[in-house]
């Protein structure tokens, strides 16, 4: 095997090397110079993003164990963007709160990203599982990164994530073991026979249950709000989108490539999960008062819509799922970064802490409004097209009932999204003066805003890219 054979893996390799580089630089650098590590990480991520257009990333590795194509590249770009935005948004916070463990923070984040970027290309279950865990284990650590500094919440948040994560891993392993054991191979193409038996179906559904945890499908979602509430916000900004993107990529590659003959078993179950997810996510979001918890349930609800695209039939549905994920990245990270900015100003993380934002910082409030509109699917910001296309896909696939349900819950969702907007625009606050926003954080918010508004005005290029990307899945 020569280096040229690894060409398709280049993005993952760059990120892994970057993780090691950050770890090494951290060893030799003086404590006062450590903020440079964040900038280094951001620069590498930006460079990797650019490189994804310059490098030839197509091709097979190891006789088809890993396949580089438009699918894997598209997802890698989305995930690297999410990582970049989260790093920029958290740069000052990390330097201020954890001055002596910045190096490990960025190393772990880069390791997690490596796992994510490598995940969509896997066509073999062992590699797939290892990448999945490479993504997950650093996130357990990052969720606990505040350690004992902020009271009892951070360790509890991490414990909940870890225990449910490890139990889900066990489920995944067991499902994988059944499939691999029966097939005698771990290649996706050979995993499920043409006429699968009941045990294949059980194994597939256990695998589904194990992976559903990562993307926060109800009823596997229950760690989500607690972990979001207790974890550091920049970590949550990353945690709330990037693993979700990777999780959906994983779900697509496993279920669409390896298990088309089992569709009769997993499709109805997925249908049920979508219903439960939409109901639980939307309804429980309404009484929330903590912004991060509200965003957690909103995220659960969004997963319902994304799954709708997944359910919505093969190519078109999967493509629209990709489009939805891309728009979701901008809006959701943007929201969390604004929550972060307001919390950094000392106002806390409740909805009331946004009171009077429109008077204090009109531009921040405008960005907040755009993100909320995008999440709610109001025309004409990016999220609207995402919902429109996902609904169209579901309708085409004959899931009219889901479209109606989705439309109904989109109205319900207005209750809580507008509640947040009302706090910012209608309610008054005793505090005067603008919310201070650090430069890199402002940059990240502006990028999210441009993405949200830009994709709302001109969704076409991304739709076309997503449609092209899906060709790589088959």
């Amino acid at each position: 095997m020569s280096l040229a054979d690894l060409q398709p893996l280049m993005l993952g390799l760059i990120l892994a090397c970057a993780a090691l580089l950050v770890l090494l630089v951290d060893l030799v650098i003086k404590p006062s110079g450590k903020p440079i590590l964040g900038w280094l990480t951001a620069a590498i991520l930006a460079g990797t993003l650019v490189a994804s257009w310059l490098l030839p990333l197509e091709g097979e590795v190891q006789a088809g164990v890993w396949q580089g194509n438009l699918w894997s590249t598209f997802l890698a770009r989305v995930m690297i963007s999410a990582g970049l935005l989260a790093v920029l948004g958290g740069l000052d916070y990390v330097a201020r709160v954890w001055p002596y463990r910045q190096g490990e923070f960025y190393t772990l984040l880069l390791f997690s990203l490596t796992g994510m970027v490598l995940l969509p290309g896997c066509r073999e279950l062992a590699a797939f599982v290892v990448c999945f865990e490479l993504m997950g284990i650093p996130i357990y650590v990052l969720a606990a990164y505040s350690k004992n500094d902020n009271g009892k919440k951070p360790p509890e948040a991490a414990l909940k994530l870890l225990l449910i994560g490890a139990a889900s891993t066990a489920l995944t392993f067991f499902g994988a073991a059944l499939l691999v054991g029966m097939a005698g191979s771990s290649r996706f193409a050979e995993l499920v026979p043409y006429e699968p038996g009941p045990l294949h179906a059980v194994a597939a559904l256990l695998l589904l249950a194990g992976m559903a945890f990562k993307i926060g499908v109800a009823p596997f979602h229950m760690w989500v709000p607690d972990t979001y509430e207790g974890s550091p916000t920049p970590v949550v900004a990353f945690l709330s989108v990037a693993p979700k993107v990777a999780g959906f990529a994983a779900l697509s590659s496993i279920f669409l490539i390896a298990m088309p003959t089992l569709a009769h078993a997993w499709r109805p179950m997925l249908w049920l999960l979508v219903v439960v997810t939409m109901v639980v996510g939307n309804l429980v979001a309404i009484p929330q008062t903590n912004l991060k918890r509200l965003m957690a349930f909103s995220g659960v609800a969004q997963v319902g819509y994304i799954l709708l695209g997944f359910l919505g039939g093969a190519e078109f549905g999967a493509a629209m799922m990709l489009f939805y994920l891309a728009t979701y990245v901008f809006a959701n990270i943007g929201m969390f970064l604004i929550v972060h900015a307001v919390a950094e100003a000392g106002e806390g993380e409740d909805i009331v802490s946004l009171n009077g934002l429109a008077r204090r910082s009109p531009w921040l409030a405008l960005a907040l409004l755009m993100f909320l509109l995008s999440l709610a699917g109001i025309p004409f910001v990016a999220g609207f097209w995402a919902k429109f296309y996902v609904f169209t896909a579901a309708w085409r696939a004959g899931h009219g009932e889901m479209v109606l349900l989705g439309a109904l819950f989109a109205t319900v969702a207005l209750f809580y999204y507008l509640g947040v907007a009302r706090a910012a625009f209608v309610n008054k606050s005793a505090i005067e003066g603008p919310v201070p926003v650090k430069r890199p954080l402002a940059l990240a918010i502006v990028v999210c805003l441009l993405g949200t508004v830009g994709l709302g005005a001109w969704p076409n290029p991304l739709v076309e890219a997503a449609l092209a990307a899906v060709q790589g899945l088959y």
């Binding site: 599982v129 360790p155 414990l159 066990a170 073991a177």
Partner: protein, 97 residues
């Protein structure tokens, strides 16, 4: 093959039972180890039955991942202990609803 699958299933469900009854965080992790062990049993047993190297290779990966999870898990349990003075999972309920 049926025998191996049945034994592994019993092992797995014993793990599930433990997972849901244990109050101590380390007890929960013990249960998870039992469950992963059940998966390994299938990997190795069925792999040998089929004469495919995939079973044992996969089992190796699984063991390594389980160890990694235990290591990180214990670190987090330690943090919990430092903040609360005990590690009963039913006591850690700061965040809810």
């Amino acid at each position: 093959m049926t025998a191996i699958l049945l034994i592994a299933s019993a092992l797995f469900c014993a793990g599930v039972f433990g997972l849901l009854t244990q109050k101590h965080a380390i007890g929960v992790m013990i249960a998870i180890e039992v469950m992963i062990n059940a998966a390994n049993l299938i990997f190795v047993g069925l792999g040998q039955h089929k004469g495919a190297a995939v079973g044992q290779s996969f089992a190796l990966f699984t063991i390594a991942i389980a160890v990694a999870e235990v290591v990180v898990g214990l670190a987090i349990v330690l943090l919990l202990y430092r903040s609360r003075g005990d590690v009963q999972v039913d006591e850690a309920r700061e965040m809810r609803q």
